[in-house]
Subunit: 149 residues, 3 copies
Amino acid sequence: MFAKHALTASMLALAVAFTALPVHAQGVPAGTKAAPRAQVVIQMSDADPAKWNLALNNARNLQTDVGAANIDVELVAYGPGIGMLKADSVVANRVEEALGAGVKVVACENTMRGQKLTRDDMLPKVDYVAAGVVELMRKQQQGWAYIRP
Amino acid sequence: MFAKHALTASMLALAVAFTALPVHAQGVPAGTKAAPRAQVVIQMSDADPAKWNLALNNARNLQTDVGAANIDVELVAYGPGIGMLKADSVVANRVEEALGAGVKVVACENTMRGQKLTRDDMLPKVDYVAAGVVELMRKQQQGWAYIRP
Amino acid sequence: MFAKHALTASMLALAVAFTALPVHAQGVPAGTKAAPRAQVVIQMSDADPAKWNLALNNARNLQTDVGAANIDVELVAYGPGIGMLKADSVVANRVEEALGAGVKVVACENTMRGQKLTRDDMLPKVDYVAAGVVELMRKQQQGWAYIRP
């Protein structure tokens, strides 16, 4: 009776050990076949509207080429780039389009404090992070790719 | 009899669990000794010839310092950076040198379509990808480092 | 007797399989909870003092938000960015502050050779690497995040 339980438990242990493989394999970088989920964080730290359009083009092209359902795209605006997400931004329409298409768009509260901006000054549907640069670090360390337009 | 099998199976399960360690360890970033193959993807998305020269310097320095045989270097030109790889590029000679030295140089077909460029407009030995920004993402998620000059 | 041992061994195997998870999870990017040590390498390759200040702001914000003891921050100056670390740098005070706060600051000896700079021309407490771009690659391939201000 015990012996049979023991055998079953052993098999379970083996199953667990093998099942764990694909989970970890996501973290193995070079020379492997398993493709992780497409995930990209885009930095926007420039005050230049031409760069804002490039960033939005990058987000759109990523979604178009991989399929919007197959990719996570997050755009992080901070420092001199924060103006991209202000209510009066010259790319307000395009930011709203990106949000509607499933791009996550976040503003840095550190930067906002420094520039005396409140959430009322920002586009309505953006999200917030305490520190944009920390968000960029965390995402990369979680396996997201990084693009700096 | 069952009991002995059970013990053997348990030992096997333990062995499997431990054997799995080195395999996964390839994905563990900090504090490990195992060095992955040197692999770098260089983004070129600026229309600025000074940046093109910096990118080519970076590629050359990477090959010089690590040894060209020990490193994969890929340069991805897209968006405003596509001009770097046009047949009339001011850095045409240097791009050809880089290609000769084993640097992979790719142009973004999305960008080319947008700028009504065909392969006939481009330097002869460059390669092509459907979308430069997707290439930059994929390489990073496969463990390549990213440099944006 | 054997049967009981077998059961114990099986349980141990299960425990090992699960215990192994956090170890590997450091390398697993998406969808996991385990956070690797916060590590960021910041590229400084521009000759622009405004960018030098942004880079130093980034370093400070990273330390403030994560806690200086919980993060490794390394700033790599090379190419046109090398001026940031010269003895007469306009941000000399801020570089010294960053060094005092535990930021590692390194200058590229390749670049220094090219610009005929010796260590006597540089700020006293900076460190040196043979090639800045190689350092940026190595750190990323060791799991560090990358920020290009």
